[in-house]
């Protein structure tokens, strides 16, 4: 069965129509709400289009610590589960004090890259460069 346009295409035209046709005409009292809707639509668009890319970036970041388990052939739910599993392992090691004295530079690099990957979806305006 072919559904056309697909969800991503439909969302894309919804977001564009909202921004260009409706947003300029929203009364001031509702403008904040309208901007929140535009913001939310943008997040959903970027997440649908870029979830795997962000997942791979996070996996690459975690590979700094857990190279052997960072399989970059994964995608979709498998990719998400692997990222979650490695982050969970990292959380446990951090809480146990494994990074209290050594390895903090690599840890910080890994964490910064994880945050950058998530920002690429949530708020790419804050990404550097």
């Amino acid at each position: 069965m072919r559904t056309s346009p697909d969800a991503q295409e439909l969302l894309s035209i919804v977001a564009e129509t909202f921004r260009t046709d409706l947003l300029p005409h929203i009364p001031p009292a509702q403008r904040y709400t309208a901007l929140m809707i535009a913001n939310a639509l943008g997040i959903v668009q970027r997440e649908l289009a870029g979830a795997d890319e962000a997942g791979h970036a996070m996996l690459a970041a975690l590979a700094l610590l857990y190279g052997e388990d960072a399989d970059d052939s994964l995608s979709g739910a498998d990719l998400r589960r692997r990222v979650e599993a490695l982050q969970h392992r990292l959380c446990i090691e951090i809480a146990a004090g494994d990074f209290d004295h050594d390895g903090q530079d690599v840890l910080m690099e890994c964490l910064e890259e994880i945050v950058q990957a998530r920002l690429g979806i949530a708020n790419p305006k804050l990404l550097r460069g």
Binding site: H88, I94, F99, D100, Q104, L107, Q116
Partner: protein
């Protein structure tokens, strides 16, 4: 929550107010909801008081605790309206520019919610407007420092504050436990938050002075008119803690509204804010301790964002604004990591706090 003041509740409110203010008669005009009510509900009201010590017309704010599920799930971060009123009264009594407290009501039969009434102050509160100025607002930053110094004269021995909880062991470790509690299982799924908690644990300063802290003292929570301070608002997080907690919160990047070059709340440099604080508090500012509490500020804001988002995802309080607050987490975490990065990488060498950081973290310098 529906209209708090309607035809049915108004007479109850008016007769309760007459008793509370020693008046013969009070009439209440409701002028609608005021902003800044993510947690509490703020109504603009005007009281016409006949008789008694407060006879006359008073522009006021009625601040209520919304009832129901939201309180149970989300807002364990805030104190009760009776406690908030007590903190406000202590602050006002200490000479802080807080709105004058009028009366508090804990009887649900009056409005169906705990509430209190305070005088209404004039001015602009919105952070992005307050920081809009060509030149640094050095006088305002200094005045906000002075106000905080006065507030920090109050402590657990101050009369009227008996009902505010006192931290168990060390305020710093107490905070770490609280943030961990608010985050729940996210502390074991989000490595940045896990590292923030661990960092705070390792670097926790020993317990020192315990003072009444505002705990949300920041740009956006005070009113400014013609460049001058008129009132400090939003006392719902007040509690006893390390005095440097309020300074770290005030200076955090999250509340500079884009004016990152003006580290004291987007107003001016830290030196003006610190100088005002030292004038009235009788205490030296410890930049290293402020840097610690600034890390705590990012963790606290992250944990509060998670609590807010859960109010939405739990289904108890569907709200686009609350849902989007959850998506602010990476942005708060970026601030957290930048700040820790600027303090130096070695946990076992806290002396690195205040050292010259590298690269674009330069504006995070604390000394």
């Amino acid at each position: 929550m529906g209209a708090l003041i309607d035809g049915e509740s108004r007479p109850r409110l008016e007769s309760w107010l007459a008793g509370a203010t020693g008046a013969t008669r009070v009439s209440v005009a409701d002028e609608g909801t005021l902003g800044g009510g993510a947690i509490s509900l703020n109504l603009a009201v005007t009281l016409d008081i006949d008789g008694g010590p407060r006879a006359g017309r008073h522009a006021c704010v009625l601040r209520a605790q919304p009832g129901g599920a939201a309180v149970a799930s989300g807002m364990k971060a805030s104190i009760s309206k009776a406690q908030e009123f007590a903190a406000l009264r202590a602050a006002f009594g200490a000479g802080v520019a807080a709105p004058e407290p009028i009366a508090a009501c804990g009887d649900p039969a009056v409005l169906g919610a705990d509430f209190y009434i305070m005088r209404r102050a004039e001015g602009i509160g919105a952070g992005h407007k307050v920081v809009k100025a060509d030149q640094p607002q050095r006088g305002l930053a200094r005045e906000l420092g002075r106000q905080l110094g006065r507030l920090h004269k109050a402590g657990p021995d101050t009369p009227g504050l008996e009902d505010l909880p006192v931290p168990a062991a060390s305020p710093a470790l107490d905070c770490v436990h609280t943030y961990r509690d608010w985050l729940g299982d996210l502390a074991l799924r989000d490595a940045v938050l896990a590292w923030g908690l661990r960092w705070l644990e390792i670097h926790a300063p020993p317990p020192g002075d315990l003072v009444l802290c505002h705990r949300d003292y920041r740009t956006g929570n005070y009113l400014v008119k013609d460049g001058g301070l008129t009132a400090i608002l939003d006392w719902e997080f007040a509690g006893f803690s390390d005095p440097m907690e309020d300074l770290g919160w005030f200076c955090a990047r999250s509340w500079r509204f884009g004016r990152h070059d003006r580290e004291a709340g987007g107003l001016a440099g830290r030196e003006d804010f610190y100088a005002g604080y030292e004038e009235t508090s009788g205490r030296r500012v410890d930049p290293q301790a402020v840097a610690y509490w600034e890390t705590a500020a990012y963790m606290r804001w992250a944990a509060i964002a998670v609590l807010q988002e859960r109010r939405h995802t739990s289904g108890e309080e569907p709200s686009l604004e609350l849902a989007l607050t959850g998506r602010m987490l990476p942005e708060i975490e970026l601030d957290l990591l930048r700040h820790i990065h600027g303090l130096g990488l070695t946990a076992s060498a806290p002396a690195a706090v205040g050292a010259e950081p590298s690269g674009d973290a330069g504006e995070e310098r604390v000394a």
